[in-house]
């Protein structure tokens, strides 16, 4: 990493009222378009153009969401889903980081660990659902295992790449300073690979939600996915859409948390670059 890179000077903020008004107008426009869409949606539902049996109106979704919240259904199911996602993700982080360290820090480790993981990675994780149900039954285990399986690979792949692509000139420099292997790992390799680990974590979080949706809709007695499947039996599109909104919010919030982690741990980057993860 070139140490003598001068951070690109920030573009001076064009002063002046006209510019400010311009920016404000753009901000308004950004929010206006989704609001208009929601209003249109509400309009088509209210005027009976679309059957509310097929698409619940925004007002209906809000009302249903509120009542589900008040009777505790939403809270209970959300808690279960969160616990599953968090447990699975935690396992994935432990496994992914562990494997990446083993294969990133030693040639032998790479030979032993990398090839099997690269092969496993090409399997679509969701194809494991029937097998997981056979193996783990219908309790919490198959759901957590599915989340863990899906989320391990992005962590492993990114951290492994991060460790392998540490600037060799920095490693050479630590040799001239007589740094021990342990200190080199702690002070150079791990911090250098952290940006990649965080990119992997963002992918992994997205993957967790995807796995959870499938696991809870295929086979579950609780959780947001289960709540949505049950609503399907009673043709309650409003409840299904509450579930969709919740999933959307969960994705948004968890992504923000990882972004916050990036800002906190990567504060050494002069102009914090946004992660490349989608």
């Amino acid at each position: 990493m070139p140490a003598n890179v001068i951070p690109s000077a920030s573009v001076p903020w064009p002063a002046g009222r006209a510019m400010f008004r311009n920016v404000a107008a753009r901000g308004l426009l950004r929010y206006a378009s989704p609001v208009i869409l929601v209003l249109l949606w509400q309009g088509t539902c209210s005027m009976g153009i679309v059957s509310t049996r097929l698409v619940a109106s925004p007002v209906q979704v809000i009302m249903t969401g509120w009542s589900l919240l008040r009777d505790g259904t939403l809270g209970a199911n959300l808690g279960v889903s969160l616990a599953r996602a968090a447990t699975g993700l935690l396992i994935a982080v432990a496994l992914g980081v562990g494997f990446a360290l083993v294969s990133g820090l030693s040639r032998l480790g790479e030979d032993l660990v990398d090839a099997p993981l690269q092969i496993l990675r090409t399997l679509p994780a969701l194809a494991m659902v029937p097998l997981f149900i056979l193996w783990f039954g219908i309790g919490e285990t198959p759901k957590i295992a599915l989340v863990a399986l899906g989320a391990t690979f992005p962590i492993y792949l990114n951290l492994h790449k991060g460790i392998r692509s540490i600037d060799p000139r920095l490693l050479e420099m630590t040799r001239t300073l007589g740094l021990s292997r342990v200190r080199t790992i702690r002070d150079v390799i791990l911090p250098g690979a952290l940006p990649d680990l965080l990119v992997g974590l963002r992918f992994a979080v997205g993957m967790s939600w995807l796995m959870l949706v499938v696991a809870e809709q295929v086979n579950a007695e609780s959780g947001i996915g289960h709540m949505m499947m049950e609503a399907q039996d009673f043709m309650r599109t409003d409840i299904i859409m509450v579930g969709l909104v919740i999933y959307g919010l969960l994705g948004l919030v968890s992504d923000q948390i990882v972004r916050l982690m990036e800002r906190t741990f990567l504060s050494w980057r002069p102009s914090h670059r946004r992660g490349q993860a989608a």
Partner: protein, 260 residues
């Protein structure tokens, strides 16, 4: 004193020592002695070809040569980064290297980079003192990626000095700097060398830089030192000094560049 000898040559050191071993310098003084050093990459031609070199304790030597002549290879071997396959090499244990690119860890603050791997409760104080010395006292807590090129090289110099080296190696440390920053850095190095009294090997492609700073300029050519030029000028030195101008002509000649 580190003795780095080719494998299986354990008993040879004494022979070298009593051989034509470099005039006055006994290596245990803290100087550097290289004898018959040969280095090739793969089956290619020898980059260093039976090279002999001695540097007295506290001596400032400038190493010149065309690009690709093996300057960095020699320095890397002296630094212990490259192995010694053929030949012998004596050097002090306490050596430091500064590369052209500062090679600071971007995720550690400047002062932490300076005392990287150093133990002790007074780490920060030591870092502060040496950063003050190189004129970077106002940037101790900065992140390296926010430093200018000159500041990064000062930090790298501080990191080298905090280890109290008996032998300091500099591989084109100012080559990437603008002319003004380079002048300041040259003065700084002259000051630091006067104070720390360590042996210095400065790789440079700048003839004036060599003449400003060094006791001796050597020119690497076809894997050997073809020119070994003493620079007996008083310090501080000036470009306009007749002795300076004369030596510049000699050095440029040695480099195959003719000063018309």
């Amino acid at each position: 004193m580190a003795t780095i000898a080719p494998t299986g040559a354990g008993g040879m050191n004494a022979v070298f020592m009593t051989d034509r071993m470099h005039d006055a310098i006994a290596p245990r003084d803290g100087g550097v002695a290289v004898h018959g050093l040969t280095r090739r990459f793969g089956h290619g031609p020898a980059v260093l070809d039976g090279l002999d070199l001695t540097i007295a304790p506290g001596e400032f030597v400038a190493l010149l040569g065309h690009s690709g002549s093996g300057k960095s290879t020699l320095l890397r071997t002296l630094a212990g980064l490259d192995p010694v396959h053929e030949g012998t090499l004596f050097r002090p244990d306490a050596v430091s290297v500064v590369f052209q690119d500062g090679r600071l860890l971007p995720w550690k603050r400047v002062w932490e980079n300076v005392v990287l791997g150093q133990a002790g409760a007074d780490r920060r104080d030591r870092a502060l003192a040496v950063l003050e010395e190189v004129g970077l006292g106002h940037r101790v807590d900065a992140w390296p990626l926010t430093l200018s090129g000159g500041e990064a090289q000062r930090a790298a110099l501080a990191r080298a000095l905090v280890r109290r080296p008996a032998f300091l190696m500099l591989d084109e440390p100012f080559a990437a700097l603008d002319a003004l920053a380079r002048l300041k850095m040259q003065r700084l190095v002259a000051r630091l060398w006067a104070r720390h009294a360590c042996a210095v090997l400065l790789v440079t492609h700048d003839v004036d830089e060599a003449l400003l700073l060094a006791d001796r300029a050597i020119v690497l050519d076809h894997g050997r030192i073809r020119t070994d030029l003493a620079i007996p000028l008083d310090r501080p030195r000036h470009h306009a000094d007749p002795g300076f101008i004369h030596l510049r002509g000699v050095l440029l000649d040695a480099l195959g560049v003719h000063d018309d």
